[in-house]
């Protein structure tokens, strides 16, 4: 089976399970909403402070929701040792990895579709002039985070210390993407154009590319063999 077809098959499977259970979207969605509401109550003093705090809140929500989504997505692979069924099949390993990463990315984007408008309302942000830039930065950051997360969550399928792997190894590794995301979002909210934050966008693009390629190459050796 070709790489894209394998990734699509794994993604469809995850989507079907999620549409049936709603577990990932409900838990991560509520978590992200809670972080946004609590921080808005705590940090909102005026519109200037809000604009400075909002990028951090957005990316903290994405990061922690992402870890929840990854944990749950790969817990489904641990139940009944379903991942072994995937690894025994003729599906190319990179395809399995890309399918899992795509699933996490899609779930996080759905959460962000709810999170970003809530953030705009609670922090009195007018996003309409910068919606394109914010969308691009958020999508690129989320893609990198999902790509790195899927790789490390997959490692956790076969080790007992899976939560430790995710929190201790993942966060330092994704820090370039998170930092680039926060800074680029902050600058855009402060009125910078896309060309002015393009260096940060390039960091995000490079991060995405590196982790998608690394993940595709390392997924097989890290999960078996």
């Amino acid at each position: 089976m070709k790489l894209a077809a394998a990734a699509w098959l794994v993604f469809q499977k995850d989507l079907r399970i999620e549409l049936r259970t709603g577990e990932i979207l409900i838990t991560t969605g509520f978590f992200a909403l809670l972080v946004t509401i609590l921080t808005s109550l705590s940090f909102y003093l005026d519109d200037v402070i809000a604009r400075r705090v909002a990028p951090g809140v957005l990316w903290i929500s994405i990061a922690f929701s992402g870890v929840l989504a990854m944990g749950r997505s790969f817990q489904r692979e641990r139940d009944h040792d379903a991942m072994r069924g995937l690894l025994l099949s003729p599906l190319p390993r990179p395809g399995i990895y890309l399918g899992k990463a795509l699933g996490i990315f899609a779930f996080l984007v759905l959460v962000e579709l709810m999170l970003v408008p809530c953030l705009a309302v609670l922090y009195h942000l007018d996003l309409s002039p910068v919606l394109g830039q914010i969308t691009l930065i958020t999508l690129l950051g989320t893609l990198g985070f999902s790509a790195a997360g899927a790789l490390f969550a997959a490692m956790g399928v076969r080790v007992r210390t899976k939560e430790l792997v995710l929190s201790v190894v993942l966060f330092p590794l994704v820090s370039p993407a998170l930092l680039a995301g926060v800074v680029a979002t902050r600058e855009v909210l402060a009125g910078a154009s896309l060309s002015e934050v393009f260096d940060w966008v390039r960091v995000l693009l490079a991060f995405d590319l590196v982790f998608l390629v690394l993940g595709a190459l390392l997924f097989g050796p890290l999960t078996s063999e």
Partner: protein, 202 residues
């Protein structure tokens, strides 16, 4: 080697087409490690693994489609129904959906397979797992304790299925502590003891 432990040592085993080889042995003898290696999930630290003329490890990606494995865990998604699980694996192996119906009938799973597998009893789970392992008519079938949780009727279906697969020319490896099952199916019996293999009388 399994970490610092020598799990298997000097194992020289040739498996024939159309034969059922039963592997016996106490817990910790190395049976699971041997199956892990035969199912191309682990690489032996030393030695070679050949599948016909092929170096099995080097050509593992092409050979994976020819293996059918039943392990302790069912390898099914609990939130999908039995039929959806089989359809998913059929797509992975490029198998026509018609085959799902045949195996559903063979293992008498059609009466419950539209429920999510998390609601199944151990025996029901094992029947769908067996159907999954045989779905793509594998050339090498590895069955680890296949009769676990099966009632008498389902065990008969299992025996029939193995006989059909053997007649088709499949290589069947059966790991079991179920002596009556072993006696009914074995063409050859080997015993693993502390990682070493001994031939038994068939």
């Amino acid at each position: 080697m399994y970490g610092p432990t020598r799990a298997l040592s000097g194992v020289d085993l040739e498996l024939g087409a159309g034969l059922v080889t039963v592997i016996e042995g106490p817990n910790g003898a190395g049976k699971s490690t041997l199956l892990e290696i035969l199912s191309l999930l682990s690489r032996p630290t030393r030695g070679t693994l050949r599948f016909g003329k092929h170096d099995a490890w080097r050509e593992r990606q092409q050979l994976r489609g020819t293996l059918g494995v039943l392990a302790h865990a069912a390898m099914l998604y609990p939130d999908l129904t039995g039929r959806e699980n089989l359809a998913l694996f059929a797509r992975m192996y490029g198998i026509a959906e018609r085959r799902i119906g045949e195996l559903g009938e063979r293992f008498e799973a059609t009466g419950f397979w539209d429920r999510p597998t998390r609601t199944y009893s151990r025996g029901q789970l094992q029947r769908v797992a067996l159907a999954r392992a045989l779905l793509h008519e594998p050339r090498l079938i590895l069955l680890d304790e296949p009769s676990t949780g099966l009632d008498v009727r389902a065990t008969e279906r299992l025996v029939e299925a193995v006989v059909v697969e053997r007649a088709r020319g499949a290589i069947v490896v059966l790991v079991t502590h179920d002596l009556p099952l072993s006696e009914r199916l074995a063409d050859r019996r080997v015993r693993l003891l502390r990682g070493r293999l001994e031939e038994q009388a068939a």
